[in-house]
């Protein structure tokens, strides 16, 4: 095996190694278990970064082993620019969530299992982005779901967690089943499970079947993206899950839906085949954007406010993809990354507020800016960013999405609706910040001390957000390259 193949294998083996160690060391204390998790994720991040030079040199980064030989199904992994963007985002978010978990009380019990599942969750996402075989893709896709469901079920908050975990599982699994139907159908029609080969032969699938497959793929992945009205699992799952899991769910796992859309219907069947669906994607995006923002405006639970904001933000992404323009798709991909960073930051802030005040209802919290000024600065940067304030991250991606909308061949009124609809994002973001951090102080506490374990990762993510916003060059370059890897240089 070549060095880059070893590195690629290491990206998926390292979390497994961590899981094995943690399962063997059942009585590990939380800090020790977290340390193992953090080291594994850190190593994965390092390995992923070390692979960039190979991609820059145009080398193929991948390997393949026979898995089910009789069916020609292989254990194949491959990394390209698109996979790199999602992989790095996912690993960084998991890393940040694990560091944040050190200051959090979740996972104090059965820590080794908790971090094992977090690593499996991360592995599921890594594998999903790297899988080159469609069945391997599905295995990782489901691993992601199973790990997250167990985390919610065992370490979640409230009495309703079994019901909510079940709801989350059923909803997302239904989406997964639609995806599975498509994958099997592709395999049956083309006789191959390799994505690389599928890129060349997918057009052989009859036209009517293509339409059905694209529809099922889009609905299946939109469930994962929590696009209205397929978002029903999201607010509850986000609310009940332990905070690190919420961070990963919102910041990383939602983006897997976007990855799926880009990797399957877009890349396999090409833009021309997506054309009939484009306007519906744009409309669904607008509805999701505005609906999510309005719900965030009406919601009182601070965790749910940010959860609904995810529904809204995914709407922007879907709109960008639906525009079918280069700028729009690039904006959508960039939005995934920026949204991940901002959402991680906002949930971290919410976690701090809940841990300090022990309150979740926004009307029972207020004036914390004068007591927790570092947190309030982080929150301010977070809300300005999610509102699309330049030059903080999301502005860049929104700019490209809107620009893509105007460049598309569809009515400019749709893009205008998206642009003007973004004012609702600003309104709910300001409401969130204003009610929590401004005005009279409530609830009254003896101390408003924020644990350093929570504050340091929050500050680090804030800093990263600012840097990413001011210097979008690297991400932009990766995104341009990823378009090439999706559309094969078209």
């Amino acid at each position: 095996m070549k060095a880059n193949q070893l590195l690629l294998a290491a990206v998926t083996i390292t979390p497994l190694l961590g899981v094995v160690i943690l399962l063997l060391w059942k009585n590990a204390k939380k800090k020790a278990a977290a340390a193992i998790g953090i080291v594994c994720e850190g190593a994965c991040f390092l390995f992923a970064i070390l692979l960039i030079p190979s991609l820059q040199q145009g080398q193929s980064v991948g390997f393949s082993f026979p898995w089910i030989s009789s069916l020609q199904i292989n254990f194949s992994l491959k990394m390209d620019w698109l996979a790199l963007i999602f992989l790095v985002t996912e690993i960084l978010v998991t890393l940040a969530a694990m560091v944040y978990s050190l200051g959090d009380t979740d996972g104090d019990i059965n820590s080794s299992y908790y971090y094992s599942l977090l690593l499996l969750f991360s592995l599921g996402m890594s594998g999903t982005t790297l899988a080159e075989d469609v069945f391997l893709f599905y295995v990782y896709w489901e691993l992601m779901l199973v790990a997250s469901v167990l985390l919610i079920l065992v370490w979640g908050h409230g009495d309703r967690r079994p019901a909510i975990a079940l709801k989350y599982f059923i909803f997302t699994h239904l989406g997964s089943l639609l995806v599975l139907i498509c994958l099997i159908s592709l395999y049956v029609n083309t006789g191959t499970a390799s994505m690389t080969t599928l890129l060349q032969v997918a057009h052989l699938v009859p036209g009517e079947s293509q339409v059905i497959l694209i529809s099922l793929f889009l609905v299946g992945f939109c469930v994962k993206m929590a696009i209205f009205p397929l978002h029903l699992w999201l607010p509850d799952a986000h609310t009940v899950a332990p905070m690190p899991v919420t961070i990963i769910l919102a910041a990383a796992m939602l983006s897997m839906g976007t990855y799926g859309i880009l990797r399957f219907p877009f890349a396999l069947f090409g833009i021309a085949s997506i054309q009939p669906f484009a306007i519906w994607l744009m409309i669904a995006g607008i509805v999701s954007e505005i609906y999510g923002a309005l719900m965030a405006l009406a919601e009182k639970d601070i965790k749910r406010i940010i959860a609904y904001s995810s529904v809204s933000q995914m709407g922007y992404i879907l709109f960008g993809l639906g525009s079918l323009s280069e700028q729009g798709i690039m904006g959508g991909i960039m939005h995934v990354v920026y949204h991940a960073i901002v959402k991680a930051l906002l949930f971290m802030v919410v976690g701090i507020v809940i841990s300090v005040t022990e309150e979740r209802q926004i009307d029972r919290i207020g004036g914390l800016g004068s007591r927790m000024w570092i947190t309030s600065v982080c929150a301010a940067i977070g809300i300005l960013s999610i509102s699309g304030m330049p030059p903080l991250g999301i502005f860049n991606s929104e700019w490209m999405i809107f620009s893509g909308g105007f460049q598309s061949e569809y009515p400019a009124a749709l893009t205008l609706a998206t642009v003007l609809g973004s004012i609702f994002t600003l309104v709910y973001a300001l409401r969130f910040f204003g009610l929590i951090f401004l005005g009279p102080v409530k609830p009254l506490r003896h101390t408003y001390q924020v644990p350093m374990g929570l504050l340091i990762p929050t500050g680090a993510v804030t800093l990263f957000l600012i840097v990413e916003g001011f210097l979008p060059g690297a991400l932009l370059s990766w995104t341009i390259q990823s378009l090439t890897s999706i559309f094969g240089g078209a």
Binding site: S387, P391, L430, G434
Partner: protein, 554 residues
Amino acid sequence: MMDNFLQIGLMILVVAPISLGVMMIVAWKGDHSIWLQWYLVILLSVLCIIGFQGEFETQEFASFLGEPLFFSVSSTAIRFLILLFCILLISLFLHQKMTVRPLISRVDTSLICLSITACLMAFFSGQFMLRYILLEMIGLLSAVMVGNRSTVSRSFTNFSTVFITLRLGDLFLLSSLLAIQPYSKSFNISLMLNALMDIPLHLQRWILLGFVLAVMVKSGLWPFSFWLSPYRESSKIFHWTPTILMPALGYYLLYRLSPVIQTSRMMSLIIAGGSFLVIFLLMLIYSSRMGKTRMDSRILSVSGFFAIALSALGSPQSLLLYILVLIVFRFSLSDLNPLAMIKKPILTLGFLTLLNGSALLLNFDFWPTYLFAGWVALTGFVAVWQWRAWAQSELASASAEMDLVYQPQRVFSWIYQNVEIRLFAEGTRNFAKAAHAAVIGLYSLIEVGIFHHGISRFTTAVSRSVKWVYTHIESGFDQGLDIAGNWLVRMSEIFLFRYEDGGQTKARGLMKNALTWINRKDYEAETRPLRLDLAWIPILLAVILFMFVFLEMG
């Protein structure tokens, strides 16, 4: 060599205010007013020197999202900047002369320094993306300034009002910019404006509307003037960014758009719309007495709409002069106390005459005669009505700042009450309330009612259905199987009885009967007396046999 020198100089000029702000924050804790004044004097001197160099463009100094960023220094921009910084300098000077004045804190200094940097970059920017970013920054700074200086209870409301409204203006601008971009393939301001002239009419109309709406919001023109009202509550020195700089940027945009507007088919619509709003607002002003601030706001709106009409009708020089004087006029209406003391009706009238007359004088050779006649009438109309309005505002006492005294005998009071008060003032409030109620309703109805409860009900219904299926179908199957099983068993029994058991019994009976009969017959045979007479039969048979033998032998 000279170009490089200018470029570096320009960069230093732009970066200097931020550096100064940081230095002041770190180094000096006292009143920063004097330092800012000295800095502004130096800045003005440098701007004058740059102004003498003529117009030039810098090389690309950075790129953002693949778009090259560069500065374009024009004499117009220099004029705007010199005027704006002079106003800031005068404000600071007057502020220092006040006997009771709020201290300019380190936060205030940093905000002003950031505003100066943003102002320089916005006016020098040769690229719309950069200018848009800076407009957003200035909007945020304006909101932070009002939030920082408002009372705790009003801080958030004021901040939100200013920020959201200015953001709305930015979104209008953004929509227009992005709609042009596919045609211009660039965000270079000159290229975009040139491309705008060639855009299909139906699209051009909407783009220009977006620009005009952005100008209206940024300049605080009616009905978007409400975002300026929170500044009444804050300390006056911090007005420069929101009330002078922001409108100036709006007017500067209008000035740049003027050539496009004049060549578009929107020209007549903008003239008509602008003129209508001028007259309409004057009627509103004339029809009521109102507090001075509201009156100032209306007068500035009248002048602003005048500028919009002029952008379609007048020469660029007249528009520029009008805008520059309008900025001075705006400053003269501000409440900086020492200046308010010297504010006399005659001075105001002088400003107004200059303001309206400037356009008149400069457009003498520009317009056809029939337009000129109309312009004279309109200008005279505006000047007289503005003066009357001003005279009315002078009558308003300080205690009646917010009170509105209607004059029911006036014809226009009906319009005032119904349009201004009911439609806009109360209408906006009611709309906000209704929108909020609608959002809550939407949340309750769809998210909670349909989705959340719907899912619960659906789950319950599914559970009940499953129970019913279990009770009636699954158990039915069980019962059916039981019945079928029983029936089969019974059938088997019947068959067994009939064909297996019955047959056996029958066979057994037959056998028994046979045996009994045999026994009986045996018994009968055994018990029956021997019949000797029958012995003759074998003897007879033997005789016959012998006879046959003999016969055969014979």
